[in-house]
Symmetry: C2
DNA sequence: GTGAAAGCGCTAACAA
DNA sequence: TTGTTAGCGCTTTCAC
């Protein structure tokens, strides 16, 4: 009986609203709002009555409505490449922790390294009116974000720089890391060193290759272009590159792997071979210590944390020029990078 | 001049609204709405005018308002333990893919294995009016979700069952997997087998221990309680457990590790030892193939995908009784589990 | 200490 | 084909 009197238009599966709570408690709507938000100026007795009504009805404030009115969503968006990649898990988690400390929720999205999907995702997050956006770029043109940034969406780029716009950016020192890693191989006597990296569209791939070339040049070593391979990190592609570099009359004696996925495949590929090949990989990998893999480690969590902190400082009203932070990498020698040339 | 005439109360950093677009294009508000949503019944010429205004103003629809009106947020929440754990990355990613296929965004939150934080997060997501919720429980009492579920929030539990409420659940066969793994060790001649698992509050830990006991019992082997250790997955705690089981006059000759983190620590702990100890771990690990670690593999992505599919079927109106799905695990022999007793 | 009214930006229902 | 009105559930403002 009573039920038939309900608003037929009620959304959210017939959830009670503040109005319902107010009616039940016999108070005004605003009083319920005050109680729900812990605002002062309500008699303890009234508070109790309202709370009882809330309990009885199973009321929970609709934050969508609140957001609409207040203009801030207390949420930030994170567009990354692939949450399943062990590099991005810790990064995302670090962002989440900072967001949590600021009372904000995190909306994640994976671009799958597709620029269109990155844009689609980022704009969808903007339509949700996230307060801020952290982007690990897949594309190299971010002018599509200009209106959003102008409209007040704080935006920070991580791991790779923004394309064609000025924005806060937090990077690892890819160039320096790769240079250090390759110099390490050179120091152990290698002269023919191969570089297997990610697609040339990706900034870090290019920077790391630049680091490789710098180290080789500084050692006075020539680079045979057959020693350089950029492309997809698909195992098949990487395997082929390894095979090519290790065949012929003058095979490389050492390899530099441009990121974690490349390293994994290279390690698998080298394992069954008899002739030892030295290896340094960019990015640390779980259990790399047990496998004795020498790496250039970057701190994914620090990247995420730094970016998120910057974001929230912007949201707190910071207004200076966009900043570019570069985090140092660490050479972790574990054996594979210290092998002498075969 | 013109600026001073602006509404002083404008939120979202002075973003244009449909009203602004309508004014600029010289059309009605609803016409803008039609164009933005691609609804039919608008003259191509009008569409063009509206689109020009949208472009010029940098308008983007405010989905918060849309959500408030439509009652569906096109977003789902995922409460998991720790996004930085390599087990949850793929799971989360799989959920995201299904959500994306249904046009929904994913809001992630990590409970850090803290029941209170799980509840806080889940309820915050409900306040955002996510359409559905996927929970990897940290706690064992989910009655706090009852009002939400009754109010229409589709809810699916993954990896561990819900506590004290009926709900859709997607699990891996922890009991069967552990039993298979331990039986495998028995088949290779072991009689004294240790079990090192997660905290006893965690369902999977208990189930896997149960599998261990079942396999031992089925083989007619006694279980010395000194061979069983449940607790935190902190490396220190695990190391201590390993040390204890491998010392004394009758040390275990094989170990069963209750999850990925335990396995990693056990492997590190066993590596420097001379006496070989057989090992089977629950959960697969990257590079475990190269280290020759025998594991009981569960498919994290399949868990996430299955749960998300169930969730969206609920959102599409499915109304049958809560279902419990148990996904099979796979024994992957790689050497460590096939070692004979020392 | 409390409540009524207005309005956040959008969509549904209806009118023109 | 297009526009007007009402209202989603909340917070803000201001009056009582």
């Amino acid at each position: 009986m009573a039920d038939t009197a309900r608003r037929p238009d009620h959304r959210y599966g017939n959830r009670p609203t503040m109005k319902d709570v107010a009616a039940r408690a016999g108070v005004g709507l605003k009083t319920v709002s005050r109680v729900v938000n812990g605002e002062p100026g309500v008699t303890p007795d009234t508070v109790r009555r309202v709370q009882e009504a809330i309990e009885a009805l199973g009321f929970r404030r609709n934050d969508s409505a609140r957001v609409l009115r207040k203009g801030r969503t207390a949420s930030v968006g994170l567009v990354l490449e692939d949450l399943a990649d062990p590099f991005y898990g810790p990064l995302s988690r670090a962002v989440e922790e900072v967001a949590r400390a600021h009372g904000a929720l995190l909306i994640n999205g994976s671009s799958a390294e597709d620029p269109e999907r990155e844009q689609e995702l980022a704009l969808a997050l903007c339509a949700r009116r996230v307060d801020g956006l952290i982007v690990i770029p897949a594309g190299d043109d971010h002018r599509y974000l200009e209106p959003e940034i102008r409209a007040g969406v704080a935006t920070v780029f991580v791991d790779r720089p923004a394309g064609r716009i000025e924005a806060d950016t937090v990077l690892s020192d890819s160039f320096g890391g790769a240079r250090t890693g390759v110099a390490h191989l050179v120091a152990h006597g290698h002269r023919r060193i191969g570089f297997i990296g990610d697609r040339p569209r990706i900034h870090t791939a290019v920077e790391r290759l630049r680091g490789y070339r710098a180290a080789m040049a500084e050692a006075g070593l020539p680079v045979d272009e057959a020693w350089v391979s950029l492309g997809s990190t698909e195992p098949a592609r990487v395997r082929q590159a390894v095979a090519a570099m290790l065949s012929g009359p003058e095979p490389v004696t050492a390899l530099f792997a441009g990121n974690n996925r490349v390293t994994v495949t290279v390690v698998r590929e080298l394992a069954p071979r008899t002739r030892p090949v030295a290896l340094v990989g960019f990015d640390d990998i779980e259990l790399a210590d047990l496998l004795g893999i020498t790496v250039i480690a970057q701190d994914a969590a620090a990247l995420g944390r730094t970016a998120a902190q910057r974001l929230f400082r912007r949201l707190d009203g910071l207004h200076d020029a966009p900043e570019r932070v570069e985090l140092a990498t660490t050479l972790v020698p574990r054996g594979s990078g210290e092998l002498p040339p075969a």
